[in-house]
Symmetry: C2
Subunit: 223 residues, 2 copies
Amino acid sequence: MYKILIVEDDEKLRNELKIFLERNGFNAVIMDNFKNIVQDILNLKADLILLDINLPYVDGEFICKEIRKVSNIPIIMVTSRDSELDELISLNYGADQYVTKPYNIQILLAKINALLRRSKETDTNQNKIDCNEFILNISKSLLEKDDVKIELTKNEMKILHYLVMKRGCIVSREEIMDYLWDSQSFIDDNTLTVNIKRLRNKLEEIDLKDIIETKRGQGYLLK
Amino acid sequence: MYKILIVEDDEKLRNELKIFLERNGFNAVIMDNFKNIVQDILNLKADLILLDINLPYVDGEFICKEIRKVSNIPIIMVTSRDSELDELISLNYGADQYVTKPYNIQILLAKINALLRRSKETDTNQNKIDCNEFILNISKSLLEKDDVKIELTKNEMKILHYLVMKRGCIVSREEIMDYLWDSQSFIDDNTLTVNIKRLRNKLEEIDLKDIIETKRGQGYLLK
DNA sequence: TATTAATATTACATTTTTGTAAGATAGCAA
DNA sequence: TTGCTATCTTACAAAAATGTAATATTAATA
């Protein structure tokens, strides 16, 4: 059951909303103290936030920006100001949706569901990254291409995943080593080379050995 | 560079849009043949689709629904009909955003960015699932609680990840075994028990041994 | 071209992961 | 209680993953 946090200063409105959301199978939580709000919001660990723009003490856009510094939690901005500028600011501050009051309650519900579906896909679906030339199945630690599936070891997976995240950029050997091993444990520089070699061997099985390019003196690059 | 697919039958509009998106650093692709459209869209493997509702042959809402059967690609519905019903239908068919024409181009851009940010977070961020009692770091195959980090082996990770995906539901031993091993390879039933035991041992290190409950004759349940 | 430093390759030893076997325990029904 | 079956526990051997060392190759530049 998803927990939705309602941050709204109009008491009547927020109570109605709470009841409506609860009827639709959500765990709705109300926030009625707006003093230490950003920290309070984060502590609640909701799955989604309905955030009013007009609030006492600080405005919702500022709160949104602050939350985004430390959290990816889905945010829907709610406001009675039908202002394109507000919408633009909200979106650029990291909100996911913008809804104007009085809102169509069905549409609000649809937006909540659309956003939750999107934000939870990581959790519920199998975790795959489609990289065009191959698919990285993180859940099962597999390198997939067409019908070929190759098991990756933990090190191989980490390296390839890291390179995929930084695809198109040169990644220094040091950076990869920091990602692979605790920087405390002093592991030989060559160990990375060997691990890269092993990964390349597996990539070669699907004709992609050269997809990891060596940038001599700089690092590696996933093409 | 993200590839954005424009599905719009008004030639002037789509060309303007393409230029605008390209100026803003996207790879914009136009679709101008609407016959075999669903398959064509999927083949293009774009990062996001701008989908007009009014199209020749089939309407955008239907296309959206068809795409959603096989793909999670982000979809923004674009339309000149400012209709709450259309918006509701679109969202419920799996669209992520709804924009009415004539649109504020900056807001469209902000929505594209917001949606891409959300849909790509899996790829770019480290892959973590916050399960309240613990965090499952899939990227690094770690079980985390507060400052304690425990390495999970591939099997342990797979089992826990599977249970997390189905949290609160009883998962049969057979189902887990199918997920862990190719159903072809006949692996002893007890092997699963041992693997569960090993996972429980690690969970016990963070006082969570009993979070995996045995449902005798039915399977296991992550509480 | 010769030199040097960075990276690649190969082989091997150690450590970790994994599956199996054998016996123990616990829940349930007669 | 007894017997049966599902699950658990422990120990061990085989297999896989990993780090290291020794050597080879490559690219840059003097």
